[in-house]
Point group: C2
Chain length 200, copies 2
Protein backbone atom coordinates (compact mmCIF):
# COMPACT_ATOMS: atom_id res chain seq x y z
CA UNK A 1 0.00 0.00 0.00
CA UNK A 2 2.95 2.36 0.54
CA UNK A 3 4.74 4.04 -2.37
CA UNK A 4 7.12 1.10 -2.64
CA UNK A 5 10.41 0.59 -0.80
CA UNK A 6 9.00 1.56 2.61
CA UNK A 7 12.42 0.38 3.49
CA UNK A 8 13.19 1.95 6.83
CA UNK A 9 10.01 0.62 8.40
CA UNK A 10 10.75 -2.86 7.10
CA UNK A 11 14.33 -2.82 8.30
CA UNK A 12 13.22 -1.62 11.73
CA UNK A 13 10.79 -4.52 12.09
CA UNK A 14 13.30 -7.10 10.96
CA UNK A 15 16.04 -5.74 13.19
CA UNK A 16 13.68 -5.72 16.14
CA UNK A 17 12.72 -9.35 15.48
CA UNK A 18 16.34 -10.42 15.69
CA UNK A 19 17.10 -8.39 18.79
CA UNK A 20 13.93 -9.56 20.54
CA UNK A 21 14.84 -13.14 19.82
CA UNK A 22 18.23 -12.76 21.47
CA UNK A 23 17.56 -10.26 24.22
CA UNK A 24 13.82 -10.10 24.93
CA UNK A 25 11.75 -7.02 25.58
CA UNK A 26 13.69 -5.44 28.42
CA UNK A 27 17.00 -6.34 26.83
CA UNK A 28 16.33 -4.43 23.62
CA UNK A 29 16.71 -0.67 23.32
CA UNK A 30 15.66 1.76 20.59
CA UNK A 31 19.30 2.75 20.19
CA UNK A 32 20.31 -0.87 19.56
CA UNK A 33 17.49 -1.29 17.05
CA UNK A 34 18.62 1.81 15.15
CA UNK A 35 22.22 0.64 15.09
CA UNK A 36 21.19 -2.77 13.80
CA UNK A 37 18.66 -1.48 11.28
CA UNK A 38 20.88 1.31 10.03
CA UNK A 39 18.17 3.96 10.23
CA UNK A 40 18.01 7.20 12.16
CA UNK A 41 16.12 7.95 15.34
CA UNK A 42 13.54 10.24 13.80
CA UNK A 43 12.68 7.55 11.29
CA UNK A 44 11.67 5.17 13.99
CA UNK A 45 9.42 7.60 15.80
CA UNK A 46 7.85 8.52 12.48
CA UNK A 47 6.78 4.94 11.74
CA UNK A 48 6.04 3.81 15.28
CA UNK A 49 4.61 5.35 18.41
CA UNK A 50 7.51 4.04 20.45
CA UNK A 51 9.34 0.96 21.59
CA UNK A 52 6.35 -1.15 22.56
CA UNK A 53 4.54 -0.30 19.34
CA UNK A 54 7.51 -1.41 17.26
CA UNK A 55 7.99 -4.49 19.40
CA UNK A 56 4.36 -5.47 18.94
CA UNK A 57 4.75 -5.26 15.17
CA UNK A 58 7.95 -7.32 15.33
CA UNK A 59 6.27 -9.92 17.54
CA UNK A 60 3.47 -10.30 15.01
CA UNK A 61 6.04 -10.76 12.28
CA UNK A 62 7.91 -13.45 14.21
CA UNK A 63 4.68 -15.19 15.16
CA UNK A 64 3.46 -15.22 11.54
CA UNK A 65 6.77 -16.64 10.37
CA UNK A 66 6.68 -19.45 12.90
CA UNK A 67 3.04 -20.22 12.23
CA UNK A 68 3.74 -20.53 8.51
CA UNK A 69 6.59 -22.89 9.24
CA UNK A 70 4.64 -25.40 11.22
CA UNK A 71 1.50 -25.01 9.15
CA UNK A 72 3.57 -26.24 6.21
CA UNK A 73 4.97 -29.13 8.19
CA UNK A 74 1.61 -30.36 9.43
CA UNK A 75 0.07 -30.05 5.97
CA UNK A 76 2.17 -33.00 4.78
CA UNK A 77 0.21 -36.01 3.62
CA UNK A 78 1.94 -38.57 5.82
CA UNK A 79 1.19 -40.60 8.93
CA UNK A 80 0.48 -38.73 12.15
CA UNK A 81 3.73 -39.94 13.65
CA UNK A 82 5.69 -38.78 10.62
CA UNK A 83 4.21 -35.27 10.84
CA UNK A 84 4.86 -35.01 14.55
CA UNK A 85 8.32 -36.37 14.05
CA UNK A 86 8.99 -33.91 11.22
CA UNK A 87 7.94 -31.05 13.46
CA UNK A 88 10.06 -32.17 16.40
CA UNK A 89 13.11 -32.93 14.30
CA UNK A 90 12.95 -29.75 12.23
CA UNK A 91 16.16 -27.75 11.94
CA UNK A 92 16.35 -25.21 14.74
CA UNK A 93 18.81 -22.71 16.14
CA UNK A 94 18.73 -24.55 19.42
CA UNK A 95 21.12 -22.40 21.41
CA UNK A 96 19.28 -19.30 20.36
CA UNK A 97 15.97 -20.66 21.60
CA UNK A 98 12.47 -19.95 20.32
CA UNK A 99 11.92 -16.55 18.80
CA UNK A 100 8.33 -16.58 19.98
CA UNK A 101 8.51 -18.50 23.24
CA UNK A 102 11.41 -16.32 24.39
CA UNK A 103 9.05 -13.40 24.71
CA UNK A 104 7.06 -14.74 27.64
CA UNK A 105 10.15 -14.93 29.82
CA UNK A 106 9.69 -11.18 30.15
CA UNK A 107 7.22 -9.89 32.72
CA UNK A 108 6.55 -6.73 30.71
CA UNK A 109 5.28 -8.92 27.87
CA UNK A 110 3.28 -11.32 30.03
CA UNK A 111 1.57 -8.50 31.86
CA UNK A 112 0.44 -6.77 28.65
CA UNK A 113 -2.34 -8.61 26.83
CA UNK A 114 -1.43 -7.05 23.48
CA UNK A 115 2.24 -8.00 23.71
CA UNK A 116 1.36 -11.47 24.96
CA UNK A 117 -1.22 -12.18 22.25
CA UNK A 118 1.11 -13.19 19.38
CA UNK A 119 2.74 -15.79 21.61
CA UNK A 120 -0.57 -17.09 22.92
CA UNK A 121 -1.92 -17.36 19.40
CA UNK A 122 1.15 -19.17 18.09
CA UNK A 123 1.10 -21.74 20.86
CA UNK A 124 -2.65 -22.19 20.40
CA UNK A 125 -2.21 -22.98 16.70
CA UNK A 126 0.62 -25.39 17.39
CA UNK A 127 -1.52 -27.08 20.01
CA UNK A 128 -4.29 -27.54 17.47
CA UNK A 129 -1.95 -29.14 14.91
CA UNK A 130 -0.35 -31.44 17.44
CA UNK A 131 -3.64 -32.48 19.05
CA UNK A 132 -5.17 -33.23 15.66
CA UNK A 133 -2.21 -35.36 14.67
CA UNK A 134 -2.31 -37.25 17.94
CA UNK A 135 -6.01 -37.85 17.72
CA UNK A 136 -5.61 -39.12 14.18
CA UNK A 137 -2.66 -41.34 15.10
CA UNK A 138 -4.54 -42.69 18.06
CA UNK A 139 -7.50 -43.62 15.87
CA UNK A 140 -5.14 -45.29 13.40
CA UNK A 141 -3.53 -47.34 16.13
CA UNK A 142 -0.20 -45.52 15.85
CA UNK A 143 -0.38 -44.48 19.51
CA UNK A 144 -1.93 -45.88 22.67
CA UNK A 145 -5.67 -45.40 22.81
CA UNK A 146 -5.23 -44.22 26.38
CA UNK A 147 -3.44 -41.01 25.33
CA UNK A 148 -5.28 -37.72 25.75
CA UNK A 149 -4.71 -35.63 22.63
CA UNK A 150 -4.71 -32.23 24.39
CA UNK A 151 -2.39 -33.41 27.12
CA UNK A 152 0.04 -35.09 24.78
CA UNK A 153 0.06 -32.08 22.48
CA UNK A 154 1.13 -29.83 25.35
CA UNK A 155 3.71 -32.37 26.43
CA UNK A 156 5.33 -32.27 23.00
CA UNK A 157 5.19 -28.48 22.72
CA UNK A 158 6.73 -28.21 26.19
CA UNK A 159 9.55 -30.57 25.26
CA UNK A 160 10.63 -28.16 22.53
CA UNK A 161 10.41 -25.03 24.67
CA UNK A 162 12.03 -26.71 27.65
CA UNK A 163 14.69 -28.38 25.55
CA UNK A 164 15.95 -24.94 24.61
CA UNK A 165 16.40 -24.05 28.27
CA UNK A 166 18.34 -27.24 29.03
CA UNK A 167 20.60 -26.69 26.05
CA UNK A 168 21.27 -23.05 26.82
CA UNK A 169 22.28 -24.03 30.35
CA UNK A 170 24.84 -26.47 28.96
CA UNK A 171 25.71 -24.47 25.86
CA UNK A 172 25.32 -27.67 23.91
CA UNK A 173 22.59 -28.95 21.61
CA UNK A 174 22.83 -32.40 23.21
CA UNK A 175 20.15 -31.97 25.92
CA UNK A 176 17.66 -30.58 23.42
CA UNK A 177 18.27 -33.45 21.05
CA UNK A 178 17.99 -36.04 23.78
CA UNK A 179 14.74 -34.50 25.00
CA UNK A 180 13.23 -34.67 21.51
CA UNK A 181 14.39 -38.19 20.81
CA UNK A 182 13.10 -39.24 24.22
CA UNK A 183 9.69 -37.77 23.48
CA UNK A 184 9.45 -39.53 20.13
CA UNK A 185 10.55 -42.80 21.74
CA UNK A 186 7.82 -42.50 24.38
CA UNK A 187 5.26 -41.83 21.71
CA UNK A 188 6.41 -44.82 19.69
CA UNK A 189 6.60 -47.07 22.74
CA UNK A 190 3.00 -46.24 23.54
CA UNK A 191 1.82 -47.89 20.32
CA UNK A 192 -0.35 -50.98 20.89
CA UNK A 193 2.00 -53.14 18.82
CA UNK A 194 5.07 -51.07 19.59
CA UNK A 195 7.53 -53.94 19.40
CA UNK A 196 6.43 -54.66 15.82
CA UNK A 197 7.15 -51.18 14.48
CA UNK A 198 10.10 -50.35 12.32
CA UNK A 199 11.68 -46.92 12.33
CA UNK A 200 10.25 -44.74 9.61
Amino acid sequence: MAPQHDDARERLIEGTCELLWDRGYVGVSPAAILRRSGVGQGSMYHHFKGKSDLVLEAERRSAALMQEEFTAIFAADTTAFARISAYLLREREVLRGCRVGRLVADPDVVVDDQLREPVRETFALLHRFLAEAIEEGRAAGEFAASLDADETADTLAAVIQGGYALSRAEQSVAPYERAVRGALALLRASAPESSARTDH
Copy 2:
Protein backbone atom coordinates in the same frame (compact mmCIF):
# COMPACT_ATOMS: atom_id res chain seq x y z
CA MET B 1 31.68 -16.62 60.56
CA ALA B 2 30.25 -13.08 60.71
CA PRO B 3 29.41 -11.40 64.06
CA GLN B 4 25.82 -12.62 63.78
CA HIS B 5 22.88 -10.84 62.15
CA ASP B 6 24.75 -10.06 58.96
CA ASP B 7 21.32 -8.88 58.11
CA ALA B 8 21.75 -6.46 55.25
CA ARG B 9 23.78 -8.94 53.24
CA GLU B 10 21.19 -11.64 53.78
CA ARG B 11 18.29 -9.40 52.84
CA LEU B 12 20.13 -8.29 49.71
CA ILE B 13 20.59 -11.87 48.56
CA GLU B 14 17.01 -12.84 49.26
CA GLY B 15 15.61 -9.76 47.56
CA THR B 16 17.81 -10.39 44.54
CA CYS B 17 16.60 -14.00 44.34
CA GLU B 18 13.00 -12.87 44.12
CA LEU B 19 13.68 -10.12 41.59
CA LEU B 20 15.82 -12.42 39.44
CA TRP B 21 13.05 -14.98 39.42
CA ASP B 22 10.54 -12.46 38.11
CA ARG B 23 12.66 -10.22 35.93
CA GLY B 24 15.92 -11.96 35.05
CA TYR B 25 19.36 -10.44 34.95
CA VAL B 26 18.81 -7.49 32.64
CA GLY B 27 15.45 -6.76 34.22
CA VAL B 28 16.83 -6.28 37.70
CA SER B 29 18.55 -3.08 38.85
CA PRO B 30 20.54 -2.28 41.97
CA ALA B 31 18.01 0.42 42.78
CA ALA B 32 15.16 -2.11 42.67
CA ILE B 33 17.12 -4.51 44.85
CA LEU B 34 17.73 -1.82 47.44
CA ARG B 35 14.06 -0.80 47.49
CA ARG B 36 12.98 -4.40 47.94
CA SER B 37 15.63 -5.29 50.51
CA GLY B 38 15.22 -2.09 52.47
CA VAL B 39 18.94 -1.39 52.71
CA GLY B 40 20.99 1.56 51.56
CA GLN B 41 23.17 1.85 48.50
CA GLY B 42 26.45 1.93 50.34
CA SER B 43 25.54 -1.27 52.14
CA MET B 44 25.27 -3.16 48.92
CA TYR B 45 28.61 -2.03 47.56
CA HIS B 46 30.19 -2.88 50.88
CA HIS B 47 29.09 -6.51 50.74
CA PHE B 48 29.33 -7.05 47.00
CA LYS B 49 31.58 -5.91 44.23
CA GLY B 50 28.59 -4.92 42.12
CA LYS B 51 25.47 -6.15 40.46
CA SER B 52 26.89 -9.28 38.85
CA ASP B 53 28.64 -10.29 42.07
CA LEU B 54 25.39 -10.03 44.03
CA VAL B 55 23.47 -11.79 41.29
CA LEU B 56 25.95 -14.67 41.29
CA GLU B 57 25.47 -15.10 45.04
CA ALA B 58 21.68 -15.01 44.62
CA GLU B 59 21.82 -17.53 41.79
CA ARG B 60 23.78 -19.91 43.99
CA ARG B 61 21.20 -19.49 46.71
CA SER B 62 18.31 -20.23 44.35
CA ALA B 63 20.13 -23.19 42.84
CA ALA B 64 20.89 -24.67 46.28
CA LEU B 65 17.26 -24.29 47.32
CA MET B 66 15.98 -26.04 44.23
CA GLN B 67 18.57 -28.80 44.47
CA GLU B 68 17.55 -29.50 48.07
CA GLU B 69 13.93 -29.70 47.04
CA PHE B 70 14.36 -32.35 44.42
CA THR B 71 17.05 -34.21 46.31
CA ALA B 72 14.45 -34.73 49.04
CA ILE B 73 11.82 -35.88 46.57
CA PHE B 74 14.08 -38.42 44.88
CA ALA B 75 15.30 -39.76 48.21
CA ALA B 76 11.86 -41.28 48.86
CA ASP B 77 11.78 -45.05 49.20
CA THR B 78 9.09 -45.70 46.60
CA THR B 79 8.81 -47.05 43.06
CA ALA B 80 10.62 -45.21 40.30
CA PHE B 81 7.34 -44.08 38.79
CA ALA B 82 6.13 -42.75 42.12
CA ARG B 83 9.29 -40.68 42.59
CA ILE B 84 9.15 -39.27 39.07
CA SER B 85 5.48 -38.61 39.50
CA ALA B 86 6.07 -36.89 42.83
CA TYR B 87 8.66 -34.64 41.21
CA LEU B 88 6.47 -33.73 38.25
CA LEU B 89 3.35 -33.16 40.34
CA ARG B 90 5.08 -31.14 43.04
CA GLU B 91 3.49 -27.80 43.97
CA ARG B 92 4.89 -25.05 41.81
CA GLU B 93 4.31 -21.37 41.16
CA VAL B 94 3.59 -22.21 37.56
CA LEU B 95 2.89 -18.72 36.23
CA ARG B 96 6.05 -17.44 37.84
CA GLY B 97 8.15 -20.07 36.12
CA CYS B 98 11.38 -21.69 37.27
CA ARG B 99 13.57 -19.56 39.48
CA VAL B 100 16.66 -21.28 38.09
CA GLY B 101 15.65 -22.02 34.50
CA ARG B 102 14.49 -18.44 34.05
CA LEU B 103 18.08 -17.28 34.23
CA VAL B 104 19.22 -18.81 30.93
CA ALA B 105 16.66 -16.80 28.98
CA ASP B 106 19.11 -13.95 29.46
CA PRO B 107 22.06 -13.68 27.08
CA ASP B 108 24.21 -11.93 29.68
CA VAL B 109 23.88 -15.01 31.88
CA VAL B 110 24.39 -17.57 29.13
CA VAL B 111 27.50 -15.82 27.87
CA ASP B 112 29.16 -15.74 31.30
CA ASP B 113 30.37 -19.15 32.50
CA GLN B 114 30.22 -18.11 36.15
CA LEU B 115 26.66 -16.83 35.95
CA ARG B 116 25.58 -19.85 33.92
CA GLU B 117 27.17 -22.42 36.21
CA PRO B 118 24.48 -22.60 38.94
CA VAL B 119 21.86 -23.33 36.29
CA ARG B 120 24.00 -25.90 34.53
CA GLU B 121 24.75 -27.63 37.82
CA THR B 122 21.11 -27.71 38.89
CA PHE B 123 19.94 -29.21 35.62
CA ALA B 124 22.80 -31.71 35.73
CA LEU B 125 21.76 -32.91 39.17
CA LEU B 126 18.12 -33.17 38.15
CA HIS B 127 19.16 -35.14 35.10
CA ARG B 128 21.06 -37.58 37.29
CA PHE B 129 18.06 -38.17 39.58
CA LEU B 130 15.64 -38.61 36.71
CA ALA B 131 17.94 -40.88 34.69
CA GLU B 132 18.58 -43.07 37.73
CA ALA B 133 14.88 -43.40 38.42
CA ILE B 134 14.13 -44.25 34.80
CA GLU B 135 16.90 -46.81 34.65
CA GLU B 136 15.64 -48.39 37.84
CA GLY B 137 12.04 -48.39 36.64
CA ARG B 138 13.07 -49.85 33.34
CA ALA B 139 14.90 -52.69 35.09
CA ALA B 140 11.85 -53.30 37.27
CA GLY B 141 9.55 -53.48 34.26
CA GLU B 142 7.74 -50.26 35.16
CA PHE B 143 8.71 -48.71 31.81
CA ALA B 144 9.45 -49.97 28.32
CA ALA B 145 12.84 -51.62 28.04
CA SER B 146 13.37 -49.62 24.86
CA LEU B 147 13.55 -46.28 26.72
CA ASP B 148 16.91 -44.52 26.91
CA ALA B 149 17.36 -43.22 30.44
CA ASP B 150 19.32 -40.10 29.48
CA GLU B 151 16.92 -39.16 26.73
CA THR B 152 13.82 -39.73 28.79
CA ALA B 153 15.29 -37.79 31.69
CA ASP B 154 15.81 -34.75 29.47
CA THR B 155 12.33 -35.15 28.02
CA LEU B 156 10.80 -34.94 31.48
CA ALA B 157 12.98 -32.04 32.59
CA ALA B 158 12.09 -30.22 29.37
CA VAL B 159 8.36 -30.78 29.94
CA ILE B 160 8.59 -28.86 33.19
CA GLN B 161 10.62 -25.97 31.79
CA GLY B 162 8.55 -25.78 28.63
CA GLY B 163 5.28 -26.15 30.49
CA TYR B 164 6.03 -22.88 32.24
CA ALA B 165 6.39 -21.11 28.89
CA LEU B 166 3.08 -22.47 27.59
CA SER B 167 1.30 -21.45 30.76
CA ARG B 168 2.77 -17.97 30.86
CA ALA B 169 1.63 -17.44 27.28
CA GLU B 170 -1.94 -18.30 28.26
CA GLN B 171 -1.79 -16.91 31.78
CA SER B 172 -3.33 -20.14 32.95
CA VAL B 173 -1.89 -23.16 34.73
CA ALA B 174 -3.86 -25.49 32.43
CA PRO B 175 -1.22 -26.00 29.69
CA TYR B 176 1.46 -26.78 32.27
CA GLU B 177 -0.78 -29.30 34.00
CA ARG B 178 -1.76 -30.94 30.74
CA ALA B 179 1.88 -31.20 29.68
CA VAL B 180 2.82 -32.91 32.94
CA ARG B 181 -0.13 -35.30 32.92
CA GLY B 182 0.61 -36.10 29.28
CA ALA B 183 4.22 -36.92 30.10
CA LEU B 184 3.22 -39.23 32.96
CA ALA B 185 0.65 -40.90 30.74
CA LEU B 186 3.26 -41.56 28.06
CA LEU B 187 5.59 -43.00 30.64
CA ARG B 188 2.87 -45.26 32.00
CA ALA B 189 1.69 -46.30 28.54
CA SER B 190 5.22 -47.39 27.72
CA ALA B 191 5.09 -50.10 30.37
CA PRO B 192 5.28 -53.65 28.97
CA GLU B 193 1.96 -54.60 30.56
CA SER B 194 0.61 -51.07 30.57
CA SER B 195 -3.02 -52.09 30.25
CA ALA B 196 -2.74 -54.10 33.47
CA ARG B 197 -1.43 -51.24 35.61
CA THR B 198 -3.52 -49.43 38.15
CA ASP B 199 -2.79 -45.82 39.03
CA HIS B 200 -0.31 -45.49 41.85
